[in-house]
Every structure is written in structure tokens, then in C-alpha cells.
Amino acid sequence: MNGPVSLNRRSVLAGGGALIVSFSLRGAFAQDQSAPPAPKPPGSLAQTPFLDSWLRIDADGAITAFTGKAELGQGFKTAFQQIAAEELDVPFESVNVVTADTSRTANEGYTSGSNSMKNSGTAVQNAAAQVRELLVAQAARRLDLPVEALKTGGGAVIAPDGRRLGYGELVAGEMFHVQAQPKSRLKDPATYQVMGRPVPRVDIPAKVTGGAAYIQDMRLSGMVHARVVRPPGYGAELIGYDAAAIEKMPGVVRIVRDGNFLAVVAGKEYQAVKAMVALAAAAKWRETARLPKQDDLPGVLTGLPSEDTTIYQQSDPSAVVAALTIEATFTRPYQAHGSIGPSCAVAQWLDDRMTVWSHTQGVYPDRAGIAEMLRVPPASVRLIHVEGSGCYGHNGADDAAADAALIARALPGVPVRLQWMREQEHAWEPFGPAMVTRLKASLDGDGAISDWNFEVWSNTHSMRPGGAGAMLAAQHIAQPFAPPAPKPLPLPDGGGDRNAIPIYKFPNAKVVHHFIPAMPLRISALRALGAYHNVFSAESFMDELAAAAGADPVEFRLKHLDDRRGRDAIEKAAQAFGWRKGQKAPPGRGYGFAFARYKNHAAYCAIASEVEVNRQTGRARLIRAVAAVDSGQVVNPDGLVNQIEGAILQSMSWTLYESVTFDDTRITSIDWQTYPILRFDAVPEKVDVHIINRPGQPFLGSGETGQGPAAASIANAIASATGKRLRDLPLTRKRIKDAIDA
């Protein structure tokens, strides 16, 4: 694993006869620096403008690209390697990518919102292009030739006479410790060698051969194993426990208690597990019933006080008087990230400095939170990202990091590995918030939508750390930190209102966001945030309106959409699916269609699906799905396809099966029995993803684009198969059956 790095701007190496400063940390700590004056360079270069925060070239020619984003299984590490290699004109293999580490990389906040390509990918691309230019300029000086006469290739600048100067030889002094220019001379996409081609992901070989690929696989020398004993429910207070018997258990090193925070440490992992089980049995808690009624969640949510904002309004009084108006309410329950590997962290408290290895999505914010909890300055905490199991948003990673840090501080010098149990992950992770949407729209005499009203009730969609209060351990200690006041996430990205504003053109439209500050259940960011439910609602409703207008769903959408790229995505998906107006599915089956542009400014995604519904049992099964995606310039097409396939399958699981359950005191969905998800017997026969490449266009990201359209397209297919419209997620077997029977 990564040892501590002590780089600073004076760590100079002699090489190639030149003085080389390979990397400066000043850029990495750019959160302390004020941003340079406008115009800003693109992507994350705007916040972290020094080129050497992004790229380093050693005297021996070794190339390292740095990103503050974390690899979460989305494969972007490979994509970054492609980008850097492309713009530097070097082979793919010659670049090494270093990801989020507060001592090495830029502060890029969270790895979220499908923003990695847009922010960090763009930064790496532009930094690489500018570095290449600097190298060429340097070579021109040395060779005394005009810049235009030089070419690059294979990690060297090449003169017309064949003379080559390797990048390593050219690097001198603090050559890259310069601020990025607002504009870079990027390569012509037509000449791409590495980008836009399917490159096997660099992380996969280790993952399929048992290499140390995950934080769960970290083993530091002298490391001990810890387990927490979580309270049985939110707000439970620890009355006491009898420690004597547990302390005597084999291997037990220490019981750590701080208020309601309780953990046990043992030499071997299974000893820690056994001790945790015994400690959990011994601990007595005072519980309070404070959870809302699960069977009337929509009523509970809409009944809570809310801050109401009209986030969009469009009015055209000249639009024809409505011929028909329909209304509908859609709901979504709390849903879990449900990572397959429970959260894990390793921490070590050494010489008053804390090092934490975590699969967090944000090393810097996490560092701030942990430092605050430990009441030490942020500079004495180092956070290093190590890959974990897929997280799909803000899961237990940051909490586990805080747990580990708290435990490690009680055992100075000793590396502590902490892993959650399955039940803890399911009960304590912050869930994707429950939501309610109410839609109302009118059709004019021509069957066009003349008026569109969209209201959404939701909590915030991010309670990520930054402060200590967002972390369980900090909430549970004797001198606790209160969770920070929730805030709605600002548009244009939005949180609960993400994708609430229609992408279609309607003469009259109004969108209201009812932001609910009170959070009965612990919630935070789950892949796609509010867009999942908002797209599900809007695209289900579009089908209802199409039906009312007697129009074909695809045609109806196109009729209301001006956006050229959106239309292309819809047409591509329809054509690849074999969608034909008025076509009937085989008996027992239905076809569904849905479309969205994620956040209204990121990737476009249209999905057509075929679903079979067993009328006897109500069981719905996705048979096939066809997606068309426009994510701008494609970097790694196979990686993009992989992401969209995954989004469709995961969204299908959310949409058909998943809801967090609870009684008045405890979360009751605590494992895979009580929180069922997709298993292999319901996996579709076929999923096809068609990419619409846009050479030279900005990267739009892709990780979250599929969730909403997949949900709506499945719901629409179920409606087409059964003639019944289901508006409450999840669309369970029982709900479908009840609808058929009704």
C-alpha cells in the first residue's frame, strides 16, 4: 500500500543534466489557495490551476497523472489514463494514474454526480495538452527549431531530421508549476490513437486473480481488527454492558466506548467478530420510537413542513385552452445502496498524526470531518482513497472511516482495520430519500401538452461529510456533533429537484420543489439523486398523456422535444429496439420507452424495454432493454457500455423490488432476506447499449444517466402489458397483481 509521501517543491532530482522538480504539493493543497482571476481554465483546472497538480514527468520519462476523484468501479481510472496518454502522445501503458489522496492529489471534492469525466477528465486532458506544448516549446529552444517543425510521439519530441528528445530529458526545474491557460490546443479527435477505443480496464486483472484490489484486502504489519456495536436504532442510548467476560475472550485487545459509540478490537478478524456478537448481546440500550409510519410514507412526507420554491415557470397565455387535464401522484420509498462488500476502513494514529485509508468518495471533505471529530487540525489527518466495493453514492464508507479513526486513536501506533457487518451496512447506511411527485398536465385539441405542472416533495439528497456531524461515530460519542442542517442542493444539478424541470417544450409549465428539512430516516446521496424518481414520474406521465392523446409514446416525445441530440438518442433507441408505431407486444408482454437528459445538461439516454408480466402471479420480468446514449466525446466505449448496462440492471432492481422497511423504532430491512435485490433468474435475456459518439464534444459523464429512464421504461412496459398504470415504487409483484385484479 501507499507509504507516506513526503514530496515538496524542493524534492528535486538530478536527471538528464537538468534540474527537475517532479511534483509540487502546493497545487494539491489548492483548497487553501484562492482561484486565479477569470477566464478560468476548463474542468477542475479552474479550482486547481497548476499543471503539476495533474501531471508529473520524471527524469526517466515516467508519467503520472493525478486525479482527486476516486475509482469506484466505474472504470474511470482507465479512462483517465487514456486521456492523458492521448494528449501527451504517449502509449497507453506509459501513464500511471494516482487517485484521491489528500497528500498527493488535488481537492476535487466528491466523486459524484457523474462529474468525474466532466471535471477531472477535462482537467487532465487540458493539463496534458498544455504540458505537451510546454515540452515541445522546450525542445524547440534546445534544438533551435521552430515549434511548428516538431512532432511528438512515443514519449519524445521529434525533429524533422529524426533527432528525439525524450520527455524526461526535457523536464526541467519547475517547468509545470505554472497555471493552466484558459485554452489548450487539444488534439483533433480524428487523430486519436488511444481515446475513443475500447481499452481493457487496468483494475480488472488484479480483481479476477485475487490481487490486493480493495481496502478490504489491506494488511498492514501489526494490524488489528475492529468491529463496532451499533445501537439497535436511531437515537438509542447505551445504558451499559458487562465488559468483563468479553475482555477475557481470546484475542480481545480492547473495548472502546465513547458515549453511545461502542467497538471492540481483537488480534484476529474472527475473534473481533465473535467479541462483537458477545458485546452486542451484553449491551443494554434505551430506545425511542421515532420512525414514521411506513405504510403511509407519502402522507407523512407531504405532511411535513416544507420550504417551497418555484424552480421553473413558463407561461404562454396564448396557448390553446386545455381539452383534457390529467393528474397523477408518484411515490418512491427509501432505498438502500446495498454495497455487496460492507464498508471498511484502516486507520493509524502515529505521532499525533492520523492516516485513514477509506473508500470514501471525497478524501478532502472526509478529512475535514474526521479532523473535526478528533478535534485536531485537518493538516494532521491524511485521507487516502483505496477502492472498495461499488458504492453508488454516499454509503457507509465515510462512517466506517470515522469509526476506524476513533478506534485507532485509542490504540496509538497500531493500524486498525474496521469492517461493518452486513446488518450494520443495511441498517445504518444513509438511504436514498423517499419522494413524492404530483403531476398535472393538459392536452390541447391537437393532442399536444399545453400545460405541465410538476411538484416534488423530498429531503435533501446529500448529507455527506465536510463537518463531523455527518458521521455516525461523531454523532454517537459522548460529546457529540449534531448533524448539519440539511440544505437543498443548488440547481442546475439539483438534489430532490434534479431533472424536475422538463426538457420538453411546453407553452405553460411550472415546477415546484417542496424541500423537506426534517429527515425521519438517515438519508444521503444515492446514484442519480432525485433524477431517478423525477424521471420515473415525468416519463411515466408522458406515456399517460400519450395514451390520452392517442399518440405513440415515441412520436409523442419527439413532438415535444427540440433538442437535436435528445431526438437523436430517442430515434436511435427506437430504431435499434425495432419500435413501430401501434405495434403490439406478444401476449403477456409490453413495450415501454423513456428518455431523459441527466440533470438536463449531462448525458442523453433513451431506453426501450420489453417486459413480460405473469398475470397469474403479477411477476414482471425485463426481457430485453435497448439503450441509446450520448455522452459527448467517448473515451472508453466499452467502459461506457458497461456503466449503462449496470445502470439498467440496478435500476430494474430498485424499480421492481426495493424498499427499506422499518417499524416505529428500528430499520427492519437488514440483510438480503429482508432487502431483496435482483438475482440471476430475473436477469434480462439481452441488454443492448448503443453509443452516439460526439467527437470533440465535452465529456458528459455516464454513471447515473441510466437510472431514471430505465425505471420509467420498465414502468411503461408494465402498463403496456397489463393495461394498468403503477405509480408507486417499487413495482412489486404484489402491487402488479393487485392492479391486475382491481
Binding site: 481493457p200 478490504q216 474472527y270 461499488g390
Partner: protein, 173 residues
């Protein structure tokens, strides 16, 4: 002290007989592939092969393994010399986060060893126990089919894994 045979090697293991194999593999033998997912026999991420059969190592205590042969993903092949199933998963790029993949591969390997040409239905039924949260299922299915084909053409004996072919990068689908 008990002797445990893992990937063809005998190990002296000093753990209580009720210790689940998973912890012995990870903690004592420092093997990475078998993963803790639930510890309850509900997810399959801890799957290994014992005497040819796919077994959930989180609910298989040490005392059941006297005289048995345990195979983990590490025992099939390596990064340098991947076994057919490993090659297949690389060639199909059948992973997102990859956390579930080792368990999937072990169960699939056990299936392929007793049925080299499983139907899609059979693969699905076999993998029913194993969960994947990233939605990599379509690729996993393809990879298992591919592994079946590779095992028939290549030297199928899992322990050797002496496949020497051109760079994997060249053979993307």
C-alpha cells in the same frame, strides 16, 4: 493446529475449529479473493471450491475441511498466467467494482468442471446464490460461456493456467 490444504499447499492453521474458512483464508493465509459480503450465506461473495464443489466459505467452519482440498481464485491462475475463466472475465471485461466477481468465478468454475457446456438457464440457476449490485450480470453470463469455450480449447486443468497468448488488450470484443 490443523492442516488445511489450499491451492495445492498444506498450511498449518492455528484457529478455532468453528472459525469460518473465509476468515482463515483472509486473515491467516492472507488470500484476497474470497470476500466477506454478508457472513450469512446470502450473497455468494465468499464462494470457494472444496473438493470440486462451490461452497460458501463464510458458513463453512474449519472443522469441515479436514482432509479436503480448498481452491480459491488464486489457485486457478495468476495475473501473468490467467486460467481460462480468468481470461474470459478479462476478455469480457466482466466487472464493475468487481467485488462479487471472485465468488461468481468460483461458482462458475465449479459448474464448468462438472458441465463444460452449460446452457444459459443452467448458468443462471447456478449463479442464483450470488449477488451483484453493480448490475454486471450480462457480462458475467457472457464470460461464463466464454470460459466454457476456452476451457475446451485450452488446457482446462485449472491449477496450471499456463496460457500463453498475445496480449489481452488485443482481443477485446
Amino acid at each position: 493446529m490443523m492442516t488445511l490444504k489450499v491451492n495445492g499447499q498444506d498450511h498449518q492453521v492455528d484457529a478455532d475449529p468453528d472459525t469460518p474458512l473465509l476468515y482463515v483464508l483472509r486473515d491467516d493465509l492472507k488470500l484476497n479473493a474470497a470476500k466477506f459480503g454478508c457472513g450469512l450465506g446470502q450473497c455468494g461473495s465468499c464462494t470457494v471450491i472444496v473438493d470440486g464443489k462451490a461452497v460458501l466459505s463464510c458458513v463453512t467452519p474449519l472443522l469441515l475441511l479436514e482432509g479436503k482440498k480448498v481452491t480459491t481464485l488464486e489457485g486457478l491462475g495468476s495475473i501473468e498466467a490467467p486460467a481460462p475463466i480468468q481470461r474470459a472475465f478479462i476478455e469480457e471485461q466482466a466487472a464493475q467494482c468487481g467485488y462479487c466477481i471472485a465468488g461468481m468465478m468460483m461458482r462458475a468454475q465449479a459448474l464448468l468442471q462438472r458441465n463444460p457446456k452449460p446452457t444459459d438457464e443452467q448458468i443462471r440457476a447456478e449463479l442464483e446464490i450470488n449477488l451483484c449490485r453493480c448490475g454486471t450480470h450480462m457480462r458475467i453470463l457472457r464470460a461464463v460461456h466464454r470460459a466454457g469455450r476456452l476451457m475446451q480449447t485450452a488446457d482446462a486443468s485449472p491449477a496450471k493456467g499456463s496460457i500463453q497468448e498475445g496480449s489481452i488488450q488485443g482481443s477485446m470484443p
